[in-house]
Amino acid sequence: MRTLKTLVAAAVAATLLAGCGGGSTPPASSGEASGAPAAASGDTLVIYTNSNGEGRGDWLAAKAAEAGYKIEIVGAGGADATNKLIAEKNNPIADVAFGLNNMYFSQVKNEGALEAYQPAWAGEVDKGLGDGETYWPLVKQAILLGYNSDKISKDAAPKDWTDLWTKDEFKSRYERVTGLGTATAQLVFAGILSRYRDDSGDLGISDDGWKQVEEYFKNGNPAVAKTDLFARIASGDVDMGQMPSSIIADREKSFKVNVDTVTPSVGVPLAVEQLALVKGSKKKEQAQKFIDWFGSAEVQGEFAQKFNSMPVNKSAQAKANPEVVDFFADLKQQDIDWDFVQKNMGAWVEKIELEYMT
């Protein structure tokens, strides 16, 4: 009985597998028919973003549905989303992209994958934060140096990034990055290297500038994979490190630590999350309407309220968390030549990864 069963099972499996063997080719052709191209997926707008985590994606999809937009959010890291937009430029799948900062969007734009569009709310934002043509600013984020304020008083705290490796008391007490793949890390270096611009130097940076990078890596305490900086501050491993402004309040609570931030005299770099229309969108008109809606003061205000972010839209700031608005009102923004940074960031990352990271 058992033998018979086994034989039958084997024969069935064999036939099935044999079918698949011949069929290892057809999926390309038979699937095409069933696999509808994205462009034909009804009236659903496809939206690429790196800002869908912590419930943001779900919130936006629900809000958009209320407003009559059917959207499908495709989340990806900043670099992945950028590469995807560029790779797909000949036959785009996305209609709208948002959340990427100006460095990422300028790469996408340079590859000709963005379509110029002036949103209805263009007058309510500071045009200088975007490119004033294809990508438009939504949310501001400050890239800060934060320290454990329970352990270090304001007077004893570092005054600038450069103090970390020039003053002995901070050496190996600050967390340094182990890779430059993230936007935050790249912005920290944009902030440091911009100060040492020298057109005759290597990649537009003076020797002194590269010396700073070298010292940063030599004296820092390397980050640990999957262990948050705040967890390391809580356990006393390190006392300070880089952090984007939006996460601080939340992490202080979860890890039961208090963190204060440093404002160097040159100011702090800002990351500005943007919104853009993808070139070649087959639902251009609808996508434009969605952009008008999403960037409006009302939606941005609600988003800010819900996720503690700092909206760029001036009329939306009334709804944002007052503490956040005050923080940004007092914050001195570092003057960074973004054109210069964007042109060189790829080469800088490469040089740092190859020569200075140990």
Partner: protein
């Protein structure tokens, strides 16, 4: 037996021709063309070659050191994984050990999880705040709490994490050994050790070679264990490859590094193929009998083997237990290592499972992974058989081409598919593949080809070719022989390969991120969205929850597939005995089957 005559004999078989045509098209369309495209774009950005990438890499101390570390790890792992892997296989399948079923379950824990969470699991135990470390420090106050880091820690963790292939395939090959050879040796006075060394291990060679290549490859591509446990001194090259792949201006560096690793793998493959060549890895006796478990006669050795077996059991199971426990704790507790039973709640699971996307991504991933796993194994069953049967330059060329997916990182494979099929392309009948649901399936099938081929080929090598000849002489057609005789024999291995393929594709991110249809997004993308940012408190807790959920899915898969094929073991000999009995096949002189070069040396038996 010369190369050209076997090529000619290949060309005479219609079955070979059909498989060959399909295979040629598949290789050209999905393995060669996309990757040539992306490599051309990478290395010849303006139509001219620049040696920039090589120059930059070879002058970078960090890159060279990381590359060296990757190679060191690959070589070391090829040795250590074999030692531990063979030991646990023998303990569970060859020697009579008390509680071997329990031991098997413990060792099998690597079937269901891996990656960064596994590394984190080991860190909870042996890291500077780990449980074992705290105990040790209490006993030896002078001890360095950071003892478990660097090369040693990475090697230990990766060794224990990658014995899966041994447990599945080496164990399977062991079961196929003819017990009569062992009995005969014992009657002649051979010791347990001699039997093991001279009879058992040589029979396992094809499988051991195949899993050695896999261990080597795992070492070269090591990512999470060095990141978590490598510390300052022991970082590998993969993180750098990933960073450079993501940066369009540095992609040539990533591609060059990947090609270096790929060539090393191919070299390893060539060496192993050479070593494997010429042996006979099946029993030639007319009636083989099933393996019986061996007593270890020396009492000291017996106690020692038991002790080591149970120590390994503890090493294997502790991380799993802790990961499951921690998945109920909040993210802060996970990262600071403070676990208290009072703080365990279901919150993490509720948060993950009540998202808007709900179960849909799980279903999408299960369907994609299952399809890809079955197509890869189903299609390659024929190919592996032919490659194993015909050994000439045509077969070797195909074999090496099928390993292309091992050379390039999956992100580059995906980008290659996009740039090749974002416009109507005659290779696929003028269709546009980007934006369809098919392109991800193609990518999934492609990335699983090398592994599937290696393991299938190894299992075909253990099939006694006289059975096939016997049937052929009786007048059975090629497909019939394949279906009724060969397939039942390799089915347990094929099922295990399918299950492993399925498991490894479930949480894929690197390919899916570029190729997934926006309306049919697999699990990997959702996991990424919920665990990135990378380290926030919820993110890390979600990572653990997803790991446990995946453990459940993969555990069920392994049970369904492997549990069933395990049960089939008892009856496994029947199909090969059944067609054999009425035929005097095995007795026929090999001269009657000139195409079979394996059958030409029946006396080589077991050396």
């Amino acid at each position: 037996m010369s190369g050209s005559s076997t090529v000619r004999s290949m060309a005479r078989s219609p079955f070979v021709l059909v498989v060959g045509v399909i295979l040629t098209w598949f290789i050209a369309a999905f393995l060669v063309w996309p990757n040539v495209n992306i490599l051309m774009a990478t290395f010849f950005p303006d139509g001219s070659f620049s040696g920039r990438a090589a120059e930059k890499l070879f002058s970078s101390q960090r890159a060279m050191k990381a590359l060296g570390n990757s190679f060191l790890l690959a070589v070391a792992l090829s040795v250590t994984v074999n030692l531990v892997g063979v030991f646990i296989v023998l303990v569970t399948h060859y020697f009579r050990i008390r509680g071997s079923r329990i031991l098997f379950l413990g060792y099998a824990s690597t079937f269901i999880y891996g990656g960064i969470v596994l590394a984190a699991g080991y860190k909870f135990i042996y890291g500077d705040k780990g449980i074992v470390t705290s105990l040790l420090v209490r006993v030896f106050p002078g001890m360095d709490p950071g003892w478990f880091s660097g090369f040693f820690a990475v090697l230990v963790v990766m060794t224990f994490a990658t014995t899966t292939n041994h447990m599945l395939f080496v164990a399977n090959a062991l079961k196929g050994i003819d017990y009569q050879t062992i009995e005969a040796a014992r009657n002649l006075g051979a010791s347990t050790w001699t039997i093991l060394r001279r009879i058992v291990l040589p029979m396992l060679k094809p499988t051991l070679f195949a899993v050695t290549i896999l261990s080597f490859l795992t070492g070269l591509g090591a990512l999470s264990a060095p990141q978590v446990l490598g510390g300052r001194e022991f970082q590998t090259i993969t993180p750098m490859i990933l960073t450079f792949t993501n940066s369009p201006t540095s992609r040539d560096l990533a591609a060059l590094l990947a090609v270096i690793l790929g060539l090393a793998t191919m070299l390893m493959l060539a060496v192993m193929s050479r070593l494997e060549k010429g042996g006979t890895y099946f029993s030639v006796s007319k009636v083989s009998s099933e393996l019986q478990k061996q007593e270890i006669s020396n009492p000291v050795a017996n106690v020692a083997v038991h002790a080591v077996a149970y120590l390994l059991f503890a090493i294997y199971t502790l991380p799993v237990v802790l990961i499951v426990l921690y998945s109920f704790a909040d993210g802060a507790a996970i990262q600071t290592g403070q676990l208290s039973l009072a703080n365990l709640t279901l919150d993490n699971y509720i948060r993950v499972l009540t998202q808007q996307s709900g179960l849909r991504p799980f279903i999408v991933s299960v369907v994609y992974s299952a399809l890809a796993a079955v197509i890869a194994v189903g299609g390659l069953l024929f190919v592996a058989r032919l490659l194993q049967k015909y050994r000439n330059w045509v077969a070797s060329t195909f074999e090496y081409l099928l390993h292309i997916p091992w050379i390039l990182p999956s992100a580059l494979l995906a980008l290659g598919l996009i740039v090749s099929y974002d416009h109507p392309n005659p290779l696929v009948g003028g269709a546009v593949l980007t934006g369809t649901t098919v392109i991800l399936l193609i990518a999934f099938v492609t990335v699983k080809i090398p592994f599937t081929l290696r393991m299938l080929k190894a299992s075909f090598a253990a099939v006694n070719s006289s059975l096939e000849e016997a049937a052929a002489i009786m007048g059975a057609k090629t497909l019939y022989v394949f279906r009724r005789i060969l397939l039942p024999l390799v089915l347990p291995a094929a099922a295990a390969i399918t299950a492993l393929n399925f498991n490894s594709l479930l949480d894929d991110y690197d390919t899916a991120i570029f190729l997934a249809h926006p309306l049919v997004q697999p699990l990997g993308l959702v996991i990424k969205a919920n665990t990135d940012g990378a380290e926030g408190t919820e993110g890390i807790a979600n990572t653990f929850v997803y790991t446990v959920l995946l453990m459940v899915i993969t555990g069920v898969t392994m049970y369904l597939v492997y549990g069933r094929s395990g049960r089939r073991k008892g009856t496994k000999r029947l199909p090969d005995a059944a067609p054999g009995q009425p035929v005097p096949g095995p007795d026929l002189p090999p001269a009657q089957a000139p195409a079979e070069d394996d059958a030409a040396r029946p006396a080589a038996a077991v050396r």
